[in-house]
């Protein structure tokens, strides 16, 4: 079975540009979460979507937005990029609701570099 897939693998942008990152969850998983991981830190929660609805939002500015599609895949959009947005962006999928606890499986990530 395929795991969580993310695209692109790497991305280089300049300040002020916009970026779209994509994620496909594990088959059968209906929840997708996005995390930002800067060098030397643990992942920080950005968004959680379940059944196409936003279920949670972390402490990130409105430049960050996301959506989930009917096939449960998801996009993360970041506008007006800043140097500080350079990070590894991780997507995680989970069964959400099928288990009494939150067990998430991560994709390989998209490495975003803002110049």
């Amino acid at each position: 079975d395929a795991g969580v897939t993310q695209s692109p693998t790497h991305l280089i942008k300049t300040r002020g540009q916009h970026v779209t990152l994509r994620c496909s969850p594990i088959s059968g998983h209906k929840s997708v979460s996005w995390y930002q991981q800067v060098l030397g830190q643990g992942p920080q929660f950005i968004f959680q979507y379940y059944e196409k609805e936003e279920r949670g939002r972390g402490n990130f500015p409105d430049r960050f937005s996301a959506r989930q599609f009917p096939n449960y895949s998801s996009e993360l959009n970041v506008n007006a990029l800043l140097l500080g947005d350079s990070a590894l962006y991780l997507c995680a999928s989970s069964l959400a609701g099928a288990l009494p606890y939150n067990e998430q499986f991560f994709g390989p990530g998209t490495r975003l570099t803002v110049l």
């Binding site: 969580v4 993310q6 929840s31 979460s33 995390y35 030397g40 830190q41 643990g42 992942p43 920080q44 929660f45 959680q48 379940y50 279920r55 949670g56 972390g58 590894l88 991780l90 995680a92 989970s94 959400a96 609701g97 288990l99 009494p100 606890y101 939150n102 067990e103 998430q104 499986f105 991560f106 994709g107 390989p108 990530g109 490495r111």
Partner: protein
């Protein structure tokens, strides 16, 4: 705000040695997960512990959830170079089983042959 503190931050040991990594919080978690992450890759789930006092073993790795569900430990026996990586603990709030994970900053382990 729930926080998870991991210690030590860095650990460098010789092949064959034993080690323990700690994950502590003042908050109660409904579950706690341990991940291992290689450079430039996503975290890979190692184990989920749910019940206070629970102990799980994965080959040479032993995971324990504290009785009060506020802390956890990971013990590696006879470490091997393949164990090198960033070990992350992450917890879920007891308010809802599906809230986002709170991560610690990780323990970077280096096992020298």
């Amino acid at each position: 705000t729930q926080l998870l503190e991991q210690s030590p931050q860095f650990l460098s040991i010789q092949e064959g040695e034993n080690l323990t990594v700690y994950c502590n919080s003042s908050s109660v978690f409904s579950s706690l997960q341990w991940y291992r992450q290689e450079p430039g890759e996503g975290p890979v789930l190692l184990v989920t512990v749910v019940t206070g006092g629970e102990v799980k073993k994965l080959k040479r790795l032993t995971f324990q959830f504290g009785d009060a569900r506020k802390d956890s430990s990971l013990h590696i026996t006879a470490a091997q170079p393949g164990d090198t990586g960033l070990y992350l603990c992450a917890g879920s709030s007891p308010d809802s089983g599906n809230t986002p994970l709170v991560f610690g900053k990780g323990t970077r382990l280096s096992v020298i042959a």
